[in-house]
Amino acid sequence: MTLSGRWMGLAIRPVHDGRRQGDETGRFAAAAILLPLMVLSASGHARAAERSLPAGVEQVYRAETSRIRGFDPVRVGDVTSIHAISKVYETLLQYAYLDRPYRVEPLLAEALPDVSPDGLEYLFRIRRGIFFQDDPCFAGGRGRELTADDFVYSIKRVADQKNASGGYWAFRGRIVGLDAFREASASVAPTDYDSPVEGLKATDRYCLRIRLTRPYSQLPFVLAMHYAAAVPREAVEYYGADFINHPVGTGPFILKSWRRNYRMEYVRNPKWRETGRQDAYPSSGEAADATFGLLADAGRPVPFIDRIVEYVISDGSTQWLMFLAGELDVSGVSPDNWDAVFTADGRLNEALAKRGVRVHAMPQLNTYYVGFNMDDPVVGGNRALRQALTCAFDAEQWVRFHRGRVVRAVGPIPPGVSGYDPAATGAFPFDLERARERLQEAGYPGGRDPSTGRRLELTLELGAADASTRETAELLGAFFDRIGVALRPSYNNRPAFFSKLEQRRAQMFLLNWVADYPDPQNFLQLFYSPNASPGPNRTNYRDPEYDRLYEAAETLPNGPERLELCRTMVRMVMEDCPWIFLHHPVSYGLSHRRISNYKPHDFPYGMIKYVRVDERPAPVPQGGLRGPDSGD
């Protein structure tokens, strides 16, 4: 199980246990937050005062990318492609760039939707004066205005079985009549997009009404996903199967050239200037944002960048050398270049610091845990044993072993999601004395199993057998050894591992969960009993009271009442210890001096419009820094 982050259109992708635990990867990257860990070198904010850019110098952003599958928002779901799509297409709602915990804000909608008191009806008003880019698919080649019908059409496309969209899970059983539309689309005949779907209606040109089958407070997050982006029907019909290669959107950039598996180039969408569209840089954020100069551009029109050039570079060392040479503006930090970036005590290497390279660290929306199978006769029915093992987990040493690349987890919910409590210490923090007491209470005094007379032996299932997984398991074994319990690691390949989990044959297992959206429900569902294996509740945790609270929280709108329910559920889980909470991984990124307004985000799609490049007329002759993209 590896991890990763994604840095504004480049880099490292994790293999994770995402929704349905790793079965479908790449739908949603999860990555992170936040300022306590965001180390910015001094040079970044000093410049905040002189914001005006030299006139006539094209601002070019250069980055690395991987090969993409295409630009059809409905058919494509891998991280790299979502980055590409979200430069061109836009959604009704988007994540606020600077705010944490994450929240959604209107993008193509005028405001957040009006929700009916029963939570079943959402009314969106669409912004007027939003135009699609010019394209031969439109009459006269001139992009037309965006209407509510475009969203009806786009969401129907997700449901159309002929599109085989990977995004339908977010809509299944939620919108009245949409499942029936999906059934009908299975026939050989071309799908009839004019057939009405009751829950999806454009009541007038700028008004979209969505009716749900039951309350679904995560709908705003779903509508911020690229699957729900506004796609013009003309383009789909004009290009047919080739639509995937011809993006026609409303976004801040348009695709200028695309040389497959080599180079992609986007330029500022001229339609914005032509129609007078102005989107502003956020004027509020977290408390520390102003200190780091992230609010210096508050209220200014975005995007700041004129041109984005991305290269497909699969070789890690080439990427790194190009970053050093200034040919790429941002870079991830992989284990291979770790020691080239950081000194032994974890500080930025002096040579890089002198050049004004900045480090961005962000804990990801990703929780690693050791799960206990609650159906197992040894650990399942013995709460004191689980508590003893939780007390024996030495979080401080664990973080040290990972060389600061993780932050400790005290509960299932990672920082950056509402419901996370930074002050919490966990119900059973590391305490060997207490662990031994609990163990005695569990019926294993000194770790001895009275039925065999030998040490209690527990089996930990792992989904890989590589060196770092082995060492992780050995370290956990060393922790349990201190209270006299023997841990036997059992290494599997991924399919074997998941089949053991599904058949509930694993006693203990090491796993992680990456958030689909920044909502506590996404983590709390992992303890809801109807989700038990083969569902995402891999521990098969069952508690009628928990289930009751979970169901109550599902129907509540976001607010203090729901938050309180979530906190109660977290406390129940901490007390019952179906998991040992291990850590949230931190991913690292680097950016050059000329990049500003850069803040790591877990859902960074489309956020490139906020980033600023300060390209000076005469490039500083520094380590082979190139002028405005002259070489290609």
């Binding site: 284990p335 291979d336 770790w338 020691d339 040493q397 040290r400 072993f401 060997l432 030998r454 040490r455 890989a464 057998a465 590589d466 060196a467 770092s468 082995r470 060492e471 398991a473 050995e474 370290l475 074994g477 060393a478 050894d481 201190r482 023997a486 036997r488 690691p489 059992s490 290494y491 599997n492």
Partner: protein, 323 residues
């Protein structure tokens, strides 16, 4: 009256005399034998340590984690440091005392003693070598004898099996067997043992074909002995040296295969096999921790080289095709 003692081509004790001569005859061979003896001693010591901890139901010292002692470089004399473990009562080492040969080959990523793990690696390597040879040599010898002596359909059947197995890429077959049996050393034993008998089988068959035309076999037949008695009491001792040569050459090959499988994560599980150590140490090289990789590599090179050189000497002395 014992027939083989009087009319066989190799006089009684001839094989062993030749072995003794091959081992003691040259300085290089003596050095090789010495290296092997050293590794045998280490493996026996490792087995003793392993059994002791098993009997006491403890985590063995070579598995204990000391995060405060990560990446200690090799050193003859060093000052031991207080550790977090010493506060928790599981480790009672005196603090700050200079100690001779304390972690002489350094420590790994989890602060475990490289030397102790190297010795455990030798134990596993020798186990693999011996057990796989015990599986492969009897199979190869028996099938080779049967095919060579009886000929006809028996020969056809056995050689068909032989050719079929030989035609499958060896490592893939080992991997397949290891996958079916499950990860762990049992899979490695069976995987290597059940796939490497083919070479020996072919050599033994050829030799038996030659031997069965010899006068002593004819004499035994004239005396009215049964086929199996002739085959296993009279011919077998005269082809046994082939098994010995094969053993000395198969042994290092089996060790190499085990290291390879463990490196890939299919072999030893949760035990410090050389392959596991290599796979771990490889990740630490860029942090400057070269000693674990170096120590394991040297150990493998030494033991494989010693066995190969000695095996060559034995073959020179015993193999009729060479001599």
């Amino acid at each position: 009256m014992s027939v083989e003692g009087t009319i066989g081509p190799v006089p009684r004790g001839g094989t062993w005399a030749a072995v003794r001569h091959a081992v003691c005859g040259s300085r290089a061979a003596r050095v090789c034998a010495g290296v092997i003896a050293l590794f045998v001693a280490a493996a026996l010591y490792g087995e003793a340590v392993y059994c002791w901890h098993r009997w006491r139901d403890q985590t063995p010292s070579y598995q204990r984690v000391h995060l405060d002692e990560r990446y200690l470089p090799p050193s003859v004399l060093r000052r031991s440091r207080p550790t977090a473990e010493s506060n928790t009562g599981t480790d009672q080492r005196p603090m700050g005392v200079r100690r001779l040969l304390y972690r002489p080959l350094g420590t790994d990523n989890l602060g475990r003693d490289v030397l102790q793990r190297l010795i455990q690696g030798a134990r596993i390597a020798f186990l693999v070598g011996i057990i796989t040879a015990t599986i492969a040599i009897p199979i190869g010898t028996a099938l080779g004898c049967l095919a060579g002596y009886f000929g006809g359909r028996v020969d056809d059947g056995i050689m068909w099996l032989n050719s079929t197995i030989a035609a499958i890429p060896g490592l893939l077959l080992v991997l397949a067997v290891a996958m079916v049996v499950g990860k762990g050393l049992t899979g490695v034993y069976l995987g290597i043992g059940l796939t490497t008998w083919v070479g020996l089988c072919r050599i033994v068959r050829a030799e038996v074909l030659k031997q069965r035309e010899q006068g002593y076999v004819l004499a035994a037949k004239v005396l009215g002995y049964g086929s199996f008695r002739i085959l296993f009491r009279h011919i077998l001792p005269n082809v046994a040296h082939l098994a010995l040569v094969t053993f000395s050459l198969r042994f290092p090959a089996a060790i190499g295969t085990e290291v390879f499988l463990s490196f890939l994560g299919i072999g030893a599980q949760g035990e410090p096999s050389w392959g596991v150590m290599l796979s771990n140490a490889r990740l630490r090289l860029w942090q400057g921790a070269w000693w674990e990789l170096t120590a394991v590599t040297l150990a493998i090179v030494l033991v494989v080289l010693a066995f190969n050189l000695l095996g060559d000497r034995l073959r020179d002395a015993l193999d009729p095709r060479v001599s």
